[in-house]
Symmetry: C2
Subunit: 220 residues, 2 copies
DNA sequence: CCTTGCGATGAATCCATAT
DNA sequence: GATATGGATTCATCGCAAG
């Protein structure tokens, strides 16, 4: 299970929960405001967001085979809460990988640039041996997408391709918050199988089309 | 205040609290086992470690001027607890910088390399304006030291030199867990003033000598 | 085809103003 | 007085057009 859930980044101030996720993430580009729908679940009250994350992690525990992996994106603000949710669901937390977005992120006056997002990863029980072991890097450097985005927080496909390698060849990857479906695209291109879910209809359609684009005439 | 406290990384398993910090951090080089003393406070029970961190953060709040900065190193395991301690002490948490140690770290079979450490940073109250503002990167890439280390968890001087820039020129930097004194060396070389503390006598002497080496004949 | 330059952008943050 | 709103800010990078 590899997923990029809503970050619920209104965690510290109540007022943030009243903004729509669009107005938080899209600063000035008016075309996005008109064409891209909101993220569902990002404006939740902190407690409700934690509950949602806990349920997602419990679902991971339920569907994962023994030795299966859970990978979840999060920002620095809600990393502690998500770590707790993963732990509470009974997933064995193994570490934190870093997505280094590079220097093309907004600078921070008299402070450190907010340049990284985090990927918490754990397993259902102990790590399974496999025929050809993989050794993945702990810091993944990929620039953020600038144009041609079909989702507000769309991840680079190359980043997802790196992550997908954690699943044994031919395995199944599940993304319950698939958004525009980049996880699915990277999964299918790697020859693995994909199951995805998305609550916003417009994003679901986008994801379906992008996955179809990879598979061509094959059954979907 | 810039400091690299004991990580208390025996947080999840009780047996870890019985290991000495040496046996955890020094893998194969037998000479270290003989010559370098333990870190004080690293084998604490999780609750005792949290208490120690909370006290350190409260001390930061006490000594920092308004607008002053707190920077603390931590690994992924105890990041949530330290974040909580900083928050509880009344320091305003601003973000998380990443120390990318590069590929020269131990690979992780069927998993992501544990390649990063984290630097939580916050301020006492709001950020002060300064004559010439600084814009610091969010990911700092510096290889770990391999030889010539005088402390088990010694940080590269170039890394500390980057961090020291958060303090206005001519300012004072305080490190209550200074270890072998790399923070002090970087601070003094940058023309700032330094105050340090260290509970292990042998490390204190090392730090004193290294700082003297920078200052030369000046008063220490 | 390669280089230069201009413009737009970012899971943001700050501060002054309004409620 | 505390909280919410809105506009200005900052720079490394990418895209695109022009030379």
């Amino acid at each position: 299970m590899i997923t990029d859930p809503p970050y619920g980044s209104g965690g510290f101030l109540a007022k943030d929960t009243t903004k729509s996720s669009k107005s938080k993430y899209v600063s000035s580009d008016a075309s996005y405001q008109q064409t891209l729908p909101d993220i569902d679940g990002d404006s939740l009250h902190p407690e409700a967001w934690k509950e949602l994350m806990l349920n997602a992690c419990k679902e991971a525990k339920r569907v994962l085979k023994p030795g299966g992996y859970l990978l979840m994106f999060i920002d620095w603000r809600n990393l502690p809460a998500l770590q707790e949710a993963i732990h509470a669901a009974g997933i064995q937390l193994r570490g934190t990988a870093v997505w280094d977005k590079g220097r093309a992120t907004r600078p921070n006056k008299n402070g450190f640039r907010n340049q990284a997002e985090y990927i918490l990863w754990g397993t259902h029980g102990s790590i399974a041996t496999r025929e050809t072991p993989v050794y993945l890097p702990g810091v993944l450097q990929h620039a953020t997408l600038t144009n041609g985005k079909v989702h507000i927080t769309q991840k680079p496909e190359a980043l997802m391709s790196d992550l997908v390698e954690i699943c044994p060849p031919g395995g199944v990857i599940y993304d319950p918050f698939m958004g525009s479906g980049t996880t699915g695209v990277a999964t299918l291109k790697s020859g693995r199988q994909f199951i995805g879910a998305e609550s916003v209809g417009q994003y679901f359609e986008t994801a379906l089309n992008r996955c179809r684009g990879v598979l061509g005439g094959e059954r979907i």
